[in-house]
C-alpha cells in the first residue's frame, strides 16, 4: 500500500520544494517507486528544481479536467526510472482544482507508486486544502526563525483538525555556529515549541543552492545537506538513523589536515 506525504510549512521560502525534490530523489535512490506532485498551481517550480521543466506537456489541471490521461502528464525523471513528477499548471490558479478532485486523482496513483509526495504551496487557503485533502501523513519544513515556527505551529493545528495525525518535522537551514553563539534557535528549542517528532535537520549549505540552481537534487551525495536528506529518506522508510554531526570544523588543525589530504 502506498503512502501519501504532504510537505508543507505555512510560511513561504523555507524549503518545501527543495525538500520535496530531495526526499523524492532520495527515496527513488533507495529503490522506491515515487511520484512527486506539484500542487502549487500558478507558481510551479518543483519541475525547475528537478531540472525537468522542458519536458512538461500536460499538467495537473489537464489531468483533473480530463484533457489527458494521468500517464501522459507524468514526467519520468531522466536519472531515475522509478521517479516521476506531475507538474502543476502555470497559467491557472488554485481554484482550478478542488479537494475532491485531488482525492480522486491520488486514489488513481496509489496503485502504481510506493510514495506520493505532495509539494504544498505556502499559505492556508485553497491550495493548502487541496494538498492535504488526500494526505496520510505530513512533513513540516521550518527554519529556526520565529516567523517560520509560528506559521508551522498554525499549520500543525490545521492538519490535526483535518485528521492528519502523523506529522514530522524538518528543521532546515540550521547554522550550528550561530546556534553555538546563542544567536539562533537550536533544534531542541524548535521541538520544544512545536511538540512534534523530528525527522531530520538540514544544515545551511552552499551546495544545496548550487544543486537547486542546476536542477540536480543532491540527496545521497557527500555534501552535508545531501547526507542529511538521505538520512531523512531512511527515516521516512522507518529506519532508525541517528542525527548527523553538523559541526563544520574550521579550526586551525582542520585546515592543516585539509592541506595534507
Amino acid at each position: 500500500m502506498s503512502e501519501v506525504i504532504v510537505i508543507t510549512s505555512g510560511k513561504g521560502g523555507v524549503g518545501k520544494t527543495t525538500s520535496t525534490a530531495n526526499i523524492g530523489t532520495g527515496l527513488a535512490k533507495l529503490g522506491k517507486n515515487v511520484v512527486m506532485i506539484d500542487t502549487d498551481i500558478g507558481l510551479r517550480n518543483l519541475d525547475v528544481v528537478m531540472g525537468l521543466e522542458n519536458r512538461i506537456v500536460y499538467n495537473l489541471v489537464d489531468v483533473v479536467e480530463g484533457n489527458c490521461r494521468i500517464k501522459q502528464a507524468l514526467i519520468k525523471d531522466k536519472r531515475y526510472p522509478n521517479l516521476a513528477l506531475l507538474p502543476s499548471a502555470q497559467t491557472r490558479d488554485k481554484t482550478a482544482v478542488n479537494p475532491e478532485q485531488m482525492v480522486k486523482l491520488i486514489e488513481e496513483l496509489r496503485g502504481e507508486f510506493d510514495y506520493i509526495l505532495l509539494d504544498c504551496p505556502a499559505g492556508i487557503e485553497q491550495g493548502f486544502k487541496n494538498a492535504i485533502a488526500a494526505a496520510d501523513r505530513a512533513i513540516i519544513v521550518t527554519t529556526p526563525e520565529v516567523s517560520a515556527i509560528r506559521d508551522a505551529d498554525r499549520i500543525i493545528g490545521l492538519l490535526e483538525a483535518n485528521e492528519i495525525h502523523k506529522i514530522d518535522l524538518i528543521v532546515n537551514r540550521l547554522r550550528m555556529d550561530m546556534v553555538k553563539r546563542g544567536d539562533m534557535m537550536s533544534i531542541e528549542d524548535v521541538i520544544d515549541i512545536l511538540a512534534i517528532d523530528l525527522i531530520g535537520a538540514v544544515p545551511d549549505d552552499e551546495s544545496i543552492v548550487i544543486a537547486t540552481n542546476q536542477g540536480e537534487p543532491l540527496a545521497g551525495d557527500s555534501s552535508m545537506a545531501g547526507t542529511a536528506y538521505m538520512n531523512i529518506c531512511k527515516r521516512v522508510l522507518g529506519e532508525e538513523v541517528p542525527l548527523m554531526n553538523m559541526e563544520v570544523n574550521n579550526g586551525f588543525f582542520a585546515k592543516v589536515a585539509k592541506l595534507f589530504k
Binding site: 520565529v146 509560528r150 506559521d151 505551529d153 498554525r154 500543525i156 493545528g157 490545521l158 490535526e160 546563542g182 544567536d183 539562533m184 534557535m185 515549541i193 511538540a195
Partner: protein, 230 residues
C-alpha cells in the same frame, strides 16, 4: 390630565407604563421619550423590570419602546413582563435573579479539561474554568469566564474572568504569556528580542491575579494561594 397618552406607575422593582391605545405608533414613541426624559432625574440610575399596559404590543414594538426608554434616561431595563397578575413579585424576582448572577458563580466553581497543545490560530472558549493538559503556544487564545490552569507552558493570549470577574486567576507550570487579561485588566509581556532570551529565566509554576487594578505574576506559594478566592 385624564387623557394623558403615557402614564408611568412605579413600585420598588419596576415600572408599569400605561399607553394610549389610539395614538399613532410614531406619536406614541415621541410621548414615551418625552415622558422618560423629563423624569430621568427622578429615577436616576437603576435596574428595573418594565410592563406595558393599555395597548397590545408586538415583540418588536416592545423592544423599540425599551430602546426609547434607555435612550432617554439612565434606567436599565432588565426584563419585560406581560400581564399584570402578581406583577410586583414577578418584577422583584426578575431583578433579584439578575443581581445574584448565579451563572457566574457556577462558572468559577465548575471546570472542564482540555488535553492537547493549543496552537497558533486556535481559540479555546469556555463558560467555565479550564484546565489545559498541554501548552498554549504563541498566537493561540484561551477565553474563560472562570479560571484557567495550564499544565504546560503558557505562551499565548489568555483571558480569564471574561464576564468581568477580576477575582479570576491564571496558573501555569511555565508562565511566559503574550498577554494576560483578567476581567478588564490587561497586561502584556515585556518587549525584547525573543531569540536572545537565553534559556527561559526560570520554569517555576506561577500564578497571575489582580490586585488593586494591576496584574501580578508570582510563584505559587501557600501564601499566594491563601489569598485566592473561589
Amino acid at each position: 390630565m385624564a387623557n394623558q397618552p403615557v402614564i408611568i406607575k412605579s413600585n420598588k422593582y419596576g415600572l408599569i407604563v400605561i399607553l394610549d391605545a389610539k395614538l399613532s405608533w410614531e406619536e406614541l414613541k415621541k410621548e414615551v421619550a418625552e415622558k422618560f426624559s423629563s423624569s430621568a432625574k427622578f429615577f436616576g440610575e437603576v435596574q428595573m423590570a418594565v410592563c406595558f399596559q393599555g395597548r397590545d404590543l408586538s415583540l418588536e414594538e416592545e423592544m423599540e419602546l425599551v430602546e426609547v426608554i434607555s435612550a432617554n434616561c439612565q434606567i436599565q431595563i432588565v426584563s419585560i413582563i406581560d400581564g399584570n397578575e402578581a406583577l410586583e413579585t414577578q418584577m422583584q424576582k426578575a431583578v433579584e435573579e439578575r443581581e445574584e448572577n448565579p451563572t457566574d458563580l457556577m462558572n468559577l466553581q465548575d471546570g472542564r479539561f482540555y488535553k492537547g497543545t493549543l496552537r497558533s490560530g486556535q481559540v479555546l472558549e469556555s463558560e467555565t474554568s479550564v484546565i489545559i493538559l498541554g501548552d498554549v503556544n504563541p498566537g493561540a487564545r484561551v477565553i474563560s469566564k472562570g479560571n484557567v490552569i495550564v499544565l504546560g507552558t503558557l505562551k499565548g493570549n489568555i483571558f480569564v474572568g471574561a464576564a468581568g470577574n477580576e477575582a479570576a486567576f491564571v496558573a501555569a507550570l511555565s508562565m511566559d504569556p503574550m498577554q494576560i487579561r483578567i476581567g478588564d485588566v490587561i497586561a502584556r509581556c515585556s518587549d525584547g528580542a525573543p531569540v536572545k532570551k537565553k534559556k527561559k529565566a526560570d520554569d517555576t509554576p506561577k500564578i497571575a491575579y489582580v490586585e488593586d487594578g494591576n496584574i501580578y505574576i508570582e510563584p505559587i506559594t501557600k501564601e499566594v494561594l491563601n489569598d485566592i478566592r473561589l
